[in-house]
């Protein structure tokens, strides 16, 4: 089919950065284009230009043959360009239908009040089309992230979208929700809607994309069609080199159990208990569906929430953790899921963030020595290869990967015994991901117990030495490397017992 939307030679310069140079892309009805690239490769900038949020420095946008230099937001919407954002743009306090028609609600003839009847009637068919099983007047606050995302797609459809741009749509979805989303992509495609699918999850791109466009350093580094779309080729184009296999075996076989949980219960699943042992020198992956209670387990272990019951044994000794500072005193550290909210003070410097948990170490008689602090921060920056102009750089201005390294730096300067990573590489580019995996392995080899919660199948299968799969607040099974497979994890995660001996016994 003829493309209706074409970008020709788009370039964009920001102060100090050439974000895009000479990028051309055409979109035809009913095709799914995978757009991939490391963070900072220019994907977001390209999409901002398409959405009319920013203007290109050079190049043209051609819609239905009509060429123009830049789009305004309204023009982009009118041209049928719709976004499903990574950070969702819905109003929690309104219901589903109201969100879809926000700003263009049907009005009653008298008094011009909102016409609920017509509103719901307009939304219902769209909801049916995507198979949404909640009522149009359900409050958005009650919807899951996956349902919210589908709602965003409905909003796009209600605007007669011709191309829907999905930015990391599956980053917070469970496996089954991801399947559902991919089937919606398929449905849209059959109806002639084009999709630009931006994702770090190459499996999904491989599965749904008709063709893949790869950006690297603001340029198109390659295009792949149909059968050419393979992991190796995508990764090679993204990073410009071959990726070694993710897995690096440990230097020595795992030692004695460092951290043992018995009958450990959290408020998320008061009826279910977790029994788990983390051994010295291993990376224990904790897989499962989102909402299986993994983050709650981590939070309780770190003292953010109080566990309802059970025991924690650290190095063979019973310990209790009532608050994060107690966990920290024991050497149990958490790298939280939500880096920007819980992990970092974004508008503070690298130094301040790295010394945050340990300021007393840089103080004598209560007064902080800035020099000592900065020395430590600089050492961490070097060791972790944090890319920043200096230690006084504001953390919020760093890329996701470097931000995560700052969180790591905070704990690494404090001699961890147990390090819990919750979704360690969410929203991080491939290069930084591998550095973080290498760091994890290095820590494990130095005798730190590493517990890695991950919903990224590639990651949890590729990095862990052993894997525990959680299902509804309990450990559904433990897998050793020889039994690692996506299939095995899925089986356990959805609650099918994984066959012989996969249930854990202690």
């Amino acid at each position: 089919m003829e493309p209706f939307l074409e970008l020709e030679g788009i370039s964009k310069a920001y102060p100090g950065v050439q974000a895009l140079s000479d990028v051309s892309l055409s979109v035809a009805p009913g095709e799914v284009i995978g757009l991939i690239g490391e963070n900072g490769a220019g994907k977001s900038t390209l999409m901002k230009i398409l959405g009319g949020v920013t203007e290109a420095s050079a190049g043209a946008i051609r819609i239905d043959g009509e060429s123009r230099k830049a789009l305004k937001v309204e023009e982009a919407t009118a041209a049928g360009i719709a976004f499903v954002h990574q950070e969702l743009n819905l109003f929690d306090n309104l219901d589903a239908a109201a969100n879809v028609f926000i700003g263009r609600e049907p009005r009653t003839p008298f008094l011009k009040l909102i016409d609920r009847k017509r509103l719901n009637a307009a939304v219902q068919p769209l909801m049916d089309r995507l198979g949404l099983d909640f009522a149009p007047d359900t409050s958005v606050a009650e919807l899951s992230i996956a349902q919210r995302q589908l709602l965003e797609i409905i909003k796009a459809l209600s605007l007669d979208a011709r191309v829907v741009i999905m930015d990391e749509p599956t980053s917070s979805l469970t496996m089954s929700e991801t399947r559902r989303l991919l089937s919606v992509v398929d449905e849209l495609k059959r109806n002639g809607v084009a999709i630009i699918f931006i994702s770090h999850r190459l499996n999904e791109v491989q599965e749904c994309a008709d063709r893949v466009v790869v950006l690297r350093d603001g340029r198109i580094s390659g295009r792949l069609d149909g059968g050419e779309i393979t992991h190796e080729r995508m990764i090679r184009l993204m990073i410009g080199r071959d990726l070694k296999s993710l897995y690096t075996p440990p230097a020595a076989p795992a030692g004695e159990a460092m951290l043992e949980l018995a009958g450990f219960r959290t408020a998320a699943f008061p009826e279910s208990a977790v029994d788990l042992a983390l051994r010295r020198g291993e990376i224990l992956g904790l897989a499962g569906l989102i909402g299986a209670g993994r983050t709650e387990l981590a939070r309780a272990l770190f003292g953010i929430d109080r566990p309802l019951g059970g025991t924690i044994r650290l190095g063979g000794r019973n310990v209790s953790v009532k608050s994060p500072d107690e966990a920290i005193a024991l050497g149990i550290y958490l790298i939280p899921e939500d880096r920007k909210q819980s992990g970092l003070i974004l508008d503070d410097t690298i130094t301040a963030n790295i010394s945050l948990a340990n300021i007393r170490a840089f103080a004598s008689s209560g007064l902080v020595s800035t020099a000592l602090e900065e020395k430590n921060a600089a050492a961490q920056c070097r060791a972790l290869r944090i890319k920043a102009p200096g230690v006084s750089t504001i953390v919020g201005s760093l890329s996701g990967g470097n931000q995560q390294k700052v969180v790591l730096g905070k704990w690494l300067s404090m001699k961890p015994r147990i390090l819990i990573f919750d979704e360690p590489t969410r929203g991080i580019d491939v290069g930084s991901k591998n550095e973080i995996y290498a760091l994890m392995r290095g820590l494990a080899d130095n005798g730190v117990g590493v517990l890695m919660i991950s919903s990224d199948m590639e990651e949890v299968v590729g990095v862990s030495d052993r894997m525990a799969v959680m299902h509804e607040g309990t450990i559904a099974g433990i897998l050793t490397r020889d039994r690692f497979s996506e299939e095995a994890v899925m089986q356990l995660a959805v609650g099918h017992s994984g066959g012989d001996g996969s249930h854990t016994t202690h």
Partner: protein, 334 residues
């Protein structure tokens, strides 16, 4: 020193210069001494309020607390004939205790600071009026406390001791805020409480501590105010003083969003407010316009600060663009 503080210092000097030019009486020793005295009186509660604001909290009860603690103080000295030193300790402890209650309600019972301290404002004022039967509390005829009076209203070479005490406390609080572990925790909690908690900082304790510090400073301040006015009419003593303290802190660079502020800024903010009060008197502006002048200056000050920051950012961006453009040209020439 922060750029913000420097700007405020310049503003203070400019305003003072203009006032001095228009009415030389402004720089007469007696006027400077009186202004310094008022800066000292209001400065203590402003610093305390600043700490609370850095945690993105607020304390509206300060003015009523000054009235309540003030009448109790006078009562302790007159009715109960208590030793003045003991009475001072009792009052400072009482202020600390009220701060503890605020801190407890806000951190442990998760009430909003605005509501807790608004109720404090009403409660303490009401209790003060009930305690005195709405009568003015004052010292008995002929009663005098030479040491206490020297410590609170005395002057050394014309410098009021209130100002000296204020400067000493400001230095201590400045070190606490900008150099100590507690200060670092305070800023961390103000900027992102959750991240602070995830780093093992006991954020509740830090927040409660700021209300306790403010309570203690209010207690001390209530004694200074009582000795300054010598008599307290519980219905009006200290009304709006919490707002002066908030105004001084905000003018001094504290953001109500939390995580921002400096003790030096708060000191400058307090000084500027007092100079403005003084200006109204000295320049023959009707004293009824007092509040209006203050309101206008704070509004313009905060607005100017924001615009300046915006302008600076724009200039930085333009410079970076310029550098990039020359880089491009250089590339094209190759």
């Amino acid at each position: 020193m922060l750029k913000k503080d420097l700007g405020l210092l310049i503003l203070l000097i400019v305003v003072a210069g203009i006032v001095a030019f228009l009415n030389p009486r402004f720089i007469s020793p007696i006027n400077l001494s009186n202004t310094a005295n008022l800066v000292g009186l209001f400065g203590l509660i402003s610093i305390g309020q600043g700490f609370v604001i850095i945690t993105s909290g607020i304390d509206l009860s300060v003015g009523s607390m000054l009235a309540l603690l003030g009448v109790i103080f006078i009562d302790l000295l007159t009715t109960y004939q208590m030793n003045w030193a003991l009475a001072v300790i009792v009052i400072v402890l009482a202020g600390t205790g009220l701060g503890c209650i605020h801190g407890f309600l806000i951190t442990k019972l998760k009430m909003q600071p605005f509501i807790v301290t608004l109720c404090g404002l009403l409660l303490y004022r009401g209790i003060a009026r009930w305690y005195t039967d709405d009568a003015t509390a004052g010292f008995a005829f002929g009663q005098s406390f030479p040491s206490l009076e020297w410590l609170t209203t005395g002057r050394v070479h014309g410098v009021p001791l209130t100002f000296v005490v204020f400067v000493l406390i400001a230095i201590v609080m400045g070190v606490v805020l900008h150099r100590s572990v507690f200060g670092r925790h305070l800023f961390a909690v103000g900027r992102n409480e959750e991240a602070a908690r995830y780093s093992g900082i006991k954020s509740e304790r830090v927040i409660a501590a700021t209300y306790i510090i403010l309570g203690a400073l209010s207690g001390l301040s209530s004694i200074y105010f009582a000795m300054y006015t010598r008599s307290i009419s519980p219905a009006s003593h200290g009304t709006f003083y919490e707002l002066y303290a908030i105004a001084a802190a905000v003018l001094g660079g504290c953001s109500l969003r939390g995580g921002e502020g400096s003790v030096f800024g708060i000191v400058l903010g307090t000084m500027l407010l007092q100079v403005l009060q003084n200006l109204v008197n000295l320049l023959g502006i009707p004293s009824s316009l007092n509040f209006a002048v203050m309101g206008a200056v704070i509004l313009i000050g905060v607005l100017a600060d924001q615009q300046l920051v915006k302008y600076r950012n724009q200039r930085a961006a333009a410079r970076a663009r310029g550098a990039l453009a020359t880089g491009d040209k250089a590339q094209a020439a190759e």
